[in-house]
Symmetry: C2
Subunit: 539 residues, 2 copies
């Protein structure tokens, strides 16, 4: 998993200037999904959906830093009992529910406590890759990353080599030029390429696989790049230039009388920056370089897997937690629902014979990030249907085997909670109401904003999503259809997590068999011999 990698910045997804042969090679051996969406276009909530297989509305981790509550099951909780060692190398953006653990007497340092704190993974190398510092202190107080120790051992001195070497360049007059300032994007990071984050994490992933041996395992190899800070080591910092930057997908039409929320997002500092050519020409080439570095590292990883025979028995998924606007639609970052933000690259290699029919094929069915957990369950031989009371996604294995279920989903859902963002304060919206819901099928994208009119895009006639039809009288019927669909979705059963559909069916009639006789007048009302003579009548 990459962080903030747009779906379309890979050559197999059609980027004209960014050549990613290793990732393309995986697509050639697997299935490439063209309509894969995340459940929230921001790191934390999106990842909690990947890990729990549940919508944000169900798992409740609604923004970065909102802890995933104790009790929410994750991939590891499902896979570990099946004998699959489930481990993490890299980022999760998970914050532990310390209060909940304390209330339940769970020691955070116990094996269970650590797994609860790491979304159910065994942390082989947990590193969220955001070791920033500011006037109020460090962003990720949770940990001092092993990566910093690695850099120190390599002679990169300082109290935070992650920033000073891997994410900063040399500034004027021996001053640091932090990667947090986009003006420095094109400068080379001070660290040697082999010591930068992406190759380091690849090596750590390979270390884990080596150590894991023959026992089944599931590795979440999770890269921070091409996420901020936008800075790359040589040679990736100037591998691409302004000439390689594809034009932004935006139109003056979008700025005319925009939806109040969209207007607020366009007013964000990051959006205003990416409206400037200087910024795009400075940042996008480096973003491309960071993706290129990831592709090269995929080459290293795949070669290791090939040389050691792992392609014969290992499912490989390449994806991202969300995209990056990079100036499209007059926005920067992610956090809204245009395709560059909410759609992700998703490539799945399934080693099984049954998948031979689909190798190198493209799947345009509607897919959600919550589908991966049930996919892994089915891949290791379990029946995801037994978990349908908890897992809200659907296994992709049938699609990987070319057996598309006739009842496949007709729309995807994504959510965003802007209560912590400036828009929430600027519009004076209460946190509990600062929420957006996107429903999209293969043609329409409908965005429900509590307290505002909806947004609507027709991706068939307006594939660039320039025309918001949210107030167009001609689309009233479409909006009503999606509003009704969203209402049904909201009422779905997502919290009966202690009993499955099968267990519920098995409960039918059980109470009477255990003596709870409701509506019995006399023995003639109960068939079982057990009751004879028990209810007061003569035999």
């Amino acid at each position: 998993m990459c962080d903030q990698l747009r779906w379309d910045y890979l050559s197999c997804y059609g980027h004209p200037r960014l050549h990613t042969p290793h990732i393309d090679g995986l697509a050639a051996r697997g299935v490439r999904f063209t309509r894969a969406y995340v459940q929230s276009p921001i790191c934390g909530p999106a990842r909690m959906s990947f890990y729990t297989g549940r919508y944000m509305h169900s798992h409740g981790s609604t923004w970065n830093g909102i802890p995933l509550k104790v009790g929410e099951m994750t991939m590891g909780d499902y896979l570990r009992p099946l004998g699959v060692k489930t481990a993490l190398v890299g980022k999760t953006h998970m914050v532990a529910d310390k209060e909940g653990m304390e209330r339940l007497g769970i020691d955070p340092t116990s094996i269970i406590g650590v797994r609860v704190s790491e979304c159910g993974f065994d942390p082989y190398e947990r590193d969220d890759g955001l070791h920033a510092r500011g006037p109020d202190g460090g962003y990720d107080a949770r940990q001092q990353p092993r990566y910093n120790k690695y850099l120190l051992d390599k002679g990169y001195v300082g109290d935070n080599p992650w920033h000073d070497w891997a994410n900063a360049a040399q500034g004027e007059n021996n001053r640091l030029a932090s990667g947090w300032a986009m003006r420095n994007a094109r400068r080379p990071a001070r660290v040697k390429e082999e010591d930068s984050e992406t190759p380091y994490m690849t090596r750590r992933g390979i270390d884990f696989i080596r150590e894991a041996g023959a026992a089944p395992w599931c590795l979440h190899l999770s890269y921070i790049k091409p996420h901020w800070p936008y800075i790359a080591p040589a040679p990736y910092n100037d591998m691409y230039s302004a000439a390689d930057v594809i034009p932004p997908v935006r139109s003056q039409e979008e700025r005319r009388n925009p939806h109040p929320l969209y207007r607020e997002f366009m007013n964000y500092r990051v959006s205003r920056q990416f409206a400037r050519e200087e910024v795009r020409n400075g940042v996008v080439p480096v973003y491309m370089g960071l993706v290129k570095q990831i592709d090269d590292q995929m080459g290293v990883l795949f070669r290791f897997l090939e040389d050691n025979g792992y392609f014969e028995n290992t499912m490989i998924v390449f994806t991202s937690d969300h995209g990056d606007y990079l100036g499209d639609h007059w926005l920067g970052e992610k956090e809204f629902f245009h395709e560059p933000s909410v759609k992700i690259p998703l490539i799945i290699y399934d080693p099984s014979q049954a998948a031979n029919a689909t190798r190198g094929s493209v799947c345009d069915d509607l897919v959600e990030s919550i589908d991966l957990a049930p996919t892994f369950l089915e891949f290791v031989g379990a029946d995801p249907a037994q978990q349908s009371h908890r897992l809200e996604g659907r296994s992709l294995v049938p699609l990987l085997h070319g057996r598309r279920p006739p009842d496949w989903r007709e729309f995807v859902v994504s959510e965003y909670d802007y209560s912590i963002q400036p828009a929430g304060a600027a519009l004076g919206v209460e946190p509990r109401d600062a929420r957006l819901f996107m429903l999209a099928d293969k043609r329409w994208k409908y965005i429900h904003a509590i307290g505002f009119r909806p947004l609507l895009f027709d991706m068939a006639t307006d594939p660039s999503e320039f025309r918001d039809l949210g107030a167009d009288p001609a689309c009233e019927a479409v909006r009503q259809r999606f509003a009704a669909e969203l209402g049904r979705w909201g009422l779905r059963q997502s919290q009966r997590q202690t009993r499955s559909e099968q267990q519920v069916r098995a409960m039918r009639g059980r109470a009477e068999r255990r003596g709870i006789l409701i509506g019995v007048w006399d023995e003639s009302d109960v068939a079982d011999e057990y009751w004879r003579g028990y209810l007061g009548e003569e035999r």
Copy 2:
């Protein structure tokens, strides 16, 4: 709390033949609510809503025997940290989430484990009062009640004195006449009145209060009666006769082309039984006798509280977990949404000075059972708003003090999951779709049935709820209004339980203060002195 006590079977609520002076006396000193609704008209889910302060759709314990998942906070979790000992005497119908506790390494025998298994209460005397046995064994395998030991010590021999003495009469030829058979209802239970369940639990409640001493406490004194089995000890078994039975509220109009679900409920054995006069005349007088016995025991309890000065500092709530159709609307039991089932008696005595203005008054505002948890929090001096991310109810204290908030709720919500009931199987509805949602304001009652047309009652023109307007074209606008309201309700934020509204507001802008600079080009984009010289520029 009583179990299955109808709102209108008390003289203060207008019953013409059943005189309940002690409960009426509490109403004379407190506030009597006329529009109090449970969140689900069945024991388990209703109680889990009382205890968690959350809708069934949020806590997920959707039927009797569906465990409340580990992590759902309850009254005890809120009150105990405030120094309030929170204890249980009697019934909860709670089933522990054993699987969840095991997954999280919580020892069920530890103090925390026991509280997790008892909805957060310290079990002073846990007794669900349904120690039935059948061909498949006991209904409540969890425990052998102390009450059985009490009866044995008193000389009531047998392996299940609860049934054989407290819930059975003497049958013909020395045979037992089980209370589970309604034909035996009018016979006296074999146990002496003082040894029957209701007085026993009253004494146990008083024992707890005596032992608790001066420290703050919250006691959930929870009676099984007048719930099944319908059988009472002398003299309560024949204190009332068929002459005291008020006529059933039902109309032939209801049987003409009824809603498919309502038809199924009318076809239940218990409903067909209560359509018979013989059954009503046999059962209702005993039901009344059991209520009368509870009123007498309230007299015992209140006298104790009075004699020991507790009325000066103790909030006293008298209520029930749901009602009982007793043949109204051609139904028995509860589990549907007519007033006899979903409305409950609710009387609250608040000792504080501020409540003097409302003593003896009647409140017809819309109230839900989930309002009690926040009410208790406010009564002990905490601010329920700090828990609004978890508690979905509203404190009733303002109403008790005659300060009705202008923004008080405009409708109540109740739910019922019939997936385990015969209707689910008969109509071939998948468990996940076998769910009903009731929305009611002061005039309309709207019932949404997934996969079916809704039901609608106009309680202004049809107070008896005889005319289902769910298909009446004249009411289309009303149905659409409630459908939209239900859609909004379904999207409410109920799972962000790890951070409060206040904490979310406090998170605004925090990331940048900790070094996550998003959208910064150079130092001119950041105000704080901290960044000077850090981003690569000359000073």
